[in-house]
Subunit: 203 residues, 2 copies
Amino acid sequence: MRKIITVSREFGSGGREIGKRLSECLGLNYYDSEIVKALSEETKLDENYLNDKLENNFNYMTSIAHSFSRLPMEYDPAMLLAKQHNIIKNIVKDNDCIIIGRGADAVLSALKPFKIFVYADMDAKIARCKERMADGENLTDKELEKKIKSIDKSRKSIHDLYSSYTWGDKSAYNLCLNTTGINVKNVVPAVAQIINDYFENLS
Amino acid sequence: MRKIITVSREFGSGGREIGKRLSECLGLNYYDSEIVKALSEETKLDENYLNDKLENNFNYMTSIAHSFSRLPMEYDPAMLLAKQHNIIKNIVKDNDCIIIGRGADAVLSALKPFKIFVYADMDAKIARCKERMADGENLTDKELEKKIKSIDKSRKSIHDLYSSYTWGDKSAYNLCLNTTGINVKNVVPAVAQIINDYFENLS
């Protein structure tokens, strides 16, 4: 029985931390930036660029591609997405694991992954972003809110391009967790229990 | 620190069972049909009638009320709802507890309850309804699907009459659990852990 977990998440909700801690708790491999690293090696495009454009800023990327109408096909945003999907499919071959974002929930649907969606109230997301803000990055609450909304809008757009359901529509996920007011570290063992029950029933 | 949990649920998803088991797991009082019982005592209207009309069949009730335009005000559906809300508010006075459905999530919002929404795929809900079907009640899958959709439509209508958010909109809930493919009994202790963490952080 395959054991694949996908973690979709609103920016700043702590989804990545939940995924990382779940991987430790369940003893599963964890894939996040590793996917972009592999895509960067394949395309020779800069990892930071890909990471930003394929996760956070796709709308912008599409408009760039539009203005560069002679962009070679291998740099077409849709082509880069297709390559990313292929990397995700290769990762899960004989490899039970946890994948963060990047539309893995939709790409791997046929394998019946346990799909988590992590979200939070805007105030909680802003507070979390501030705690983790890099030195020198001085964004006001208003600027952070704008950034969060813009990134989530992009994640939704990319996801919905090739998914049969809307990003964040709870009916498509096994568990939707609002991290507002909870300690992510404390609740991961409980989430792991629910996941284990799901896979036991599948087998 | 108050400890109030509300369980909203799609019909046939197992939300009531989750609520009941959570109350045992957390040692909290549990309110479900007790609310309608209290309303029945207050209004002298039949419990089954109220239970059906205020939970499952409000649209129909509204149309009945409409055709009986001289219905006394105390039987006006909206008045019955208001009385039900008042009963819910009285229940939680100095009483930490779990309340199933009946819009308690919206009515008690200011008390920061932990709000759960339980849902499932249609096939899973039909299967669950069939397991629990009363003797002599012989509904086909198609009829059950129609019944489930109709009841959920009514629950949504009633809820959205007086709530600032839509019934089932995940952003308003702390946890949304899809019971498809999981054993409700097994996951309740995990849900209880998440709830305990929430209330510990609130205090």
